[in-house]
């Protein structure tokens, strides 16, 4: 289970920065990217976020590219469709494929470029958040919003037991595999069904055990969430301001 993004976030040096600042930077980046009329702004956001994630967050460059590759694959397929089937205006590229006449016109090119640059910008913001802020840190931020406590507490318990049941599911699957539970389609189907039903019963039992163990520790309806105080440092504030100003500037100066 070493490949979860959350594990990188837990070890990231950026974990120990102010959570609200990080969230703010991400939300700003997303909004700036989507609302900008220029293709430069989202790319600028992507560049800044990428640098921050890789250099300050110490995420291996190769991993970062691999992560970006998956959404990029989808984006490129979508872009190709947009390029040839949307918009009107002057013909930019035109050629024949198997008797079909494919035309990309100026509006289509424009739209395609926007889609792809916004995808890159948005994804880089999301990866920055995912690779710098573990889920456990987000709980404390959620706590200070108006979301009901019950929802947050439930999601905390769910988050914790995802890993417990993942382990159980993996060991059941292994036990099934070594006894040839997945040798063909039919057995696979029944094995998966067994795994699912066992997992359901296990989680039911786990719930009861959890209740006993919580009441053994005087459960009184309180699940503490502590937020470590991490004041924003001057250097971080300056860097963020610089980033915000230059992003806004890029969107104003480069209206294409």
């Amino acid at each position: 289970m070493n490949n979860l993004l959350d594990d990188y976030a837990l070890l990231s040096p950026l974990r120990n920065r102010n959570n609200r600042l990080k969230l703010g930077v991400v939300v700003f980046g997303l909004l700036a990217g989507v609302s900008s009329t220029s293709i430069i702004t989202p790319l600028f956001v992507a560049f800044c976020m990428g640098i921050t994630t890789v250099f300050f967050g110490k995420v291996p460059l190769k991993l970062y590219f691999n992560l970006m590759l998956a959404p990029m694959g989808f984006a490129i397929v979508g872009t190709v469709v947009i390029l040839f089937f949307f918009g009107s205006g002057n013909e930019v590229i035109a050629f024949d494929v198997f008797g079909y006449h494919l035309v990309a016109n100026s509006q289509g090119v424009d739209m395609a470029l926007h889609v792809i640059s916004r995808t890159i910008g948005g994804m880089s913001c999301m990866f920055f958040l995912a690779l710098s802020t573990p889920v456990i840190e987000l709980f404390s931020v959620l706590k200070s919003t108006r979301i009901p406590d019950a929802v947050i507490e439930l999601s905390m318990l769910i988050y914790r037991y995802i890993f417990v049941f993942l382990e159980v599911a993996m060991s059941i699957k292994y036990a099934q595999t070594v006894r040839l539970g997945y040798r063909d389609f039919k057995t696979s189907l029944s094995s998966v069904a067994m795994l699912a039903s066992t997992l359901f019963i296990r989680s039911w039992e786990q719930g009861e055990k959890l209740y006993i163990s919580m009441s053994s520790r005087c459960y009184d309806g309180k699940l503490a969430i502590f937020e470590t105080r991490r004041p924003i440092k001057t250097s971080e504030a300056i860097l963020t301001c610089g980033y915000v100003i230059s992003t806004i500037a890029s969107s104003h100066l480069t209206i294409i």
Partner: protein, 440 residues
Amino acid sequence: MMTMTILKTNNLKYFYPDGTVAIDGVNIEIKNGQKITFVGPNGSGKSTLFLLLNGTFKPQEGDVQFNGKALRYDPKSLRNIRKNVGIIFQNPDDQIFAPTVYQDVAFGPVNLDFPMDKVESNVNNTLEYVGLLHLKDKPPHHLSGGQKKRVAIAGVISMEPDIIILDEPLSNLDPVGADEIIDLLNELNYFGKTIIISTHNVDLAYRWSDYVYLMSGGKVIGEGTPGKVFDDTELLKMAGLKQPSTLEIYHEIERRGLAIIGELPKTVPELVGTLKPPELMWVNVPHGTQEGDTLNLGIMYGEYAQHCPYEAVNAKVLHIHADGRAVVEMMRKGMRAGCIIIYDMDSYHRNDLLELIDKSEIDVVGAMGTISKNIAEKDGIHLEITAGVIDKSILMALCGKRCLVLTNGGMIEHSMKRIRDYVEKSGINLSVSVVGGKNA
């Protein structure tokens, strides 16, 4: 204070909803500050009994008394009993539910309405105490089995209970991890906590406990000091258990007339202490030796027999055999016992320690407790002993080695007491001293 009864049950009976008898008329009396073990095979009712003791289950008959008062099952009384009787479950994953270690340990204190600064100091102190402070922001699924166990224990200690109950505390732990948990329990007990554990590990129950309850089929079928309970083979057979190996070996030695009859040995050093030194021995003698000559065997110490506790041995030749061997009577020069120095890691300086190792000609260094082990590892101090430290040091000292034990806090007094007890029982004078800290 030491002999006050803190927890008691009267004819406790509990049936499962389907009518199966889980606990069938159990009477126990737990004394304050003791180490109690419930031993029994799987399904003998140990875990159910524990859940009755903290009020999770309500008995159909009989009652549980805490500090002389029968337990009532209204929310306020339940809160009180659960604050004072902490339970640590067998599987830490049943117990650790918060997304980080810190939050899990803080769960109890927060629900007890401790003020926020007390919660904070309690959690930090407890985590430091169990040696996990550096992992406080980790999610539990990143921890090893032993670390999870310690988080579960910390989650209970932070509520400051008088009694700590552990269901199978050593299951699924490697030997070193298990040893660390036992060290931790000993330390807690030393500071006045009553510790109750359940196990089917007879060796652990025999050497660790002050008092043992033997359970089978929901009943207590035997109780008493470990020596009494585990020497009763018929009783053990009834409970589906076997004798602890130390005791088994001792009885085999005894049967062959090689043991000094006395108290039953609990630990390996005590077992070694019961060995009767040989009086007559077959040796190869040089040609021309006469009956009645005195030989200096000299081989029992030094590079020939590094692990032998005797110095040069003189022997009187009693009989010379045809093949050149002889029967000799041993005349010993007594033991050459080594020493044990306990180093207080609270006043640790690397150079002081290295100087001490050098000056005092220390042969063997051991460390007890996670904090000491971590410091030693970080500073590159080679540790020969990391598990069963006190027993091993005593054995080494008996063989004339000079041992240094690195430890801290309450473990120091605890170790001193263990070694002094051994000296008193065995009559072999090992020199023990403490270096550093307030004892310096």
